[in-house]
């Protein structure tokens, strides 16, 4: 594409250059390939998988040592081997799968409802200054109110039912999601809105093509926190609302362990709750966030 030009013009303004060649050269220099950070399987193993495994092994080691030292009676602190056996039994007799499925499906339904309500609430608060002033402080306050506090009220309103559980989950997750969306909107650079106006986009067009996509990173942060709150609230609700008519979730499994004074089942339940939390984070939110941030050049990928 480069065209060499030597232009002789009056008054000594000679321009000997091949500007497009210079331009192409600059472009090549400026976008020189950064040494590829190709992630080999071996490096992933060493960098991401090994550290938590080593840490976990050390933790189990300390646990075994404390157990052998008999700091606590065995019924209060069983050894790792006993707990592992209970864990395997719970998995084999299907109770683990049932509890995980019950809780995760409740969590998913509760989160989906929170997503819809929280997003609508966030949009409404964004578009109405009055609503923002009126509801904003309450929504922020709800975020710091432990949602267990709602369990007694929910039980009085809805008895021991799924409705009571979902009420607690919604009250836990909706404020985070609504606030996340608001934060996302607030972080949109004003310049982007001016770009939309200069390009001649209509007001709805600016929301659809500029404001919403620009707010996505903050919104995702809100969703992630909303899920964490939903999951916590769900566990709190399940722990308290035990009833034979309700499906048996992880919280209920944990409560059975307490009733039977079976510490190994208690630890097994806690481990299952943790595993689900980590799995959802690693399989859903982390990849989603990484993709959004990488697209926008907001992360170095370290």
């Amino acid at each position: 594409m480069a065209t060499d030009t030597t232009l002789d013009t009056p008054r000594g303004t000679t321009v000997p250059r091949s500007s497009r060649a210079v331009e192409a050269g600059l472009d090549a220099l400026d976008t020189a390939a950064v040494p590829g950070a190709r992630r080999s399987v071996g490096r992933v193993l060493v960098r991401s998988v090994m550290p938590p495994v080593v840490f976990l092994a050390a933790l189990v080691g300390v646990w075994q040592a404390v157990y052998l030292a008999k700091v606590k009676p065995t019924y209060a602190l069983p050894g790792p081997a006993t707990v592992w056996q209970t864990f395997l039994d719970t998995v084999q007799d299907g109770r683990a799968a049932e509890a995980v499925w019950t809780s995760v499906s409740r969590g998913a339904v509760g989160f989906a409802m929170s997503l819809v309500i929280g997003t609508l609430l966030g949009l409404a608060m964004w578009s109405s200054r009055w609503l923002r002033a009126a509801v904003g402080p309450i929504v922020s306050g709800l975020q710091s109110l432990p949602s267990v506090a709602w369990v007694p009220a929910a039980i009085i309103w809805f008895q021991l039912s799924d409705a009571a559980i979902y009420t607690v989950v919604l009250l836990g997750a909706v404020p985070s999601i609504a606030n996340g969306l608001l934060t996302g909107f607030r972080q949109v650079p004003p310049l982007f809105d001016r770009v939309g106006r200069v390009l001649g986009l209509s007001a709805p067009g600016r929301v659809r093509y500029v404001l919403l996509p620009a707010a996505l990173p903050g919104y995702l942060g809100g969703l992630r926190q909303g899920w964490a709150f939903a999951w916590r609230s769900l566990m709190a609700a399940e722990l308290i609302t035990y009833s034979p008519t309700l499906g048996q979730g992880l919280g209920q499994l944990l409560d059975i362990g307490r009733e039977l004074s079976q510490m190994s089942l208690v630890i097994t339940s806690i481990a299952l709750i943790l595993i689900v939390g980590v799995a959802i984070e690693l399989l859903v939110f982390a990849p989603l966030e990484r993709r959004v941030l990488q697209t926008r050049g907001l992360t170095t990928g370290r």
Partner: protein, 258 residues
């Protein structure tokens, strides 16, 4: 070959931009940012607005762009919606280079198949044909500003407003972009209003340089630049006029010292 008459080409045609007695005050009791500014830009004319900081040149540009309304006076623009380039590329980071250009076409109601083709053509105009699918963060500052130029061209306006678009770039890149801009201007016959505080840049680019005073912003003097394009920024012709304008600019700025 690129000889172009440097006068106000087309005296009888309606002006591309006309500002009449334009004043702007942001704070009711505060000083006027702009005070009785008259400016006429002919179709296809390249005008540089030059001044120190606080002279209201960006304010004037925003008024012409229709982003603000003047406190007094009138602004008329021949185009429906003038294209505007900011100091920052202001590209939307979630869209590719082509996607950013296409958004401007979409805002004009261009259909999807034509959008794709037209965005590709405009990116080739700014010598970025191979970079359509790159995201802004994968491009250098100069390349981003060229995508912004392609997006401004995609607005299809006969008036292009530029608010210090090359101020943040290094000298070599800026040099190349000057050449690129002049080439595009020559080919597309746009009226350009280019705001800068760089005297040499103004003389390098414009057919007419308009000097503004600061607080309040008024038009002090203007020069027509009778040098053929393309000019080199380091050429003696550009240097001589720049020296003369700089002297006047310094005089304007010194008035604020006492």
């Amino acid at each position: 070959m690129l000889a172009r008459t440097t006068g106000r080409g087309g005296e009888d045609a309606a002006p591309a931009v006309r500002a009449e007695g334009v004043s702007q005050t942001f704070d009711r009791r505060g000083p006027a940012v702009l005070d009785g500014v008259d400016l006429t830009v002919a179709p296809g004319e390249f005008v540089c607005l030059l001044g120190a900081s606080g002279c209201g040149k960006s304010t004037l540009l925003n008024l012409i762009a229709g982003l603000n309304r003047p406190t007094a006076g009138r602004v008329t623009v021949a185009a429906d919606r003038p294209a505007l380039m900011f100091q920052e590329p202001a590209l939307l980071p979630w869209l590719t280079a082509a996607g950013n250009v296409e958004l401007a076409l979409k805002a004009r109601g261009v259909g999807r198949p034509e959008r794709r083709a037209e965005a590709g053509r405009l990116l080739r105009v700014v010598n970025l044909g191979g970079q359509s699918d790159k995201r802004p963060h994968e491009l250098s500052g100069g390349m981003r500003q060229r995508v912004a130029l392609a997006r401004a061209l995609a607005q299809g306006s006969s008036v292009l407003l530029m608010d210090e678009p090359f101020a943040a770039l290094d000298a070599i890149t800026r040099d190349v972009l000057h050449e690129e801009l002049i080439r595009v201007w020559t080919e597309q016959r746009l009226a350009v209003v280019f705001v800068t505080h760089n005297v040499r840049e103004a003389v390098r680019l414009a057919q007419r340089v308009v000097l503004m005073s600061s607080r309040p912003g008024r038009i002090v003097r203007e020069w027509s630049v009778d040098l053929a394009q393309p000019r080199a920024i380091e050429s003696p012709g550009v240097g001589a006029l720049a020296t003369e304008i700089t002297a006047q600019l310094h005089q304007e700025i010194s008035r604020h010292g006492h």
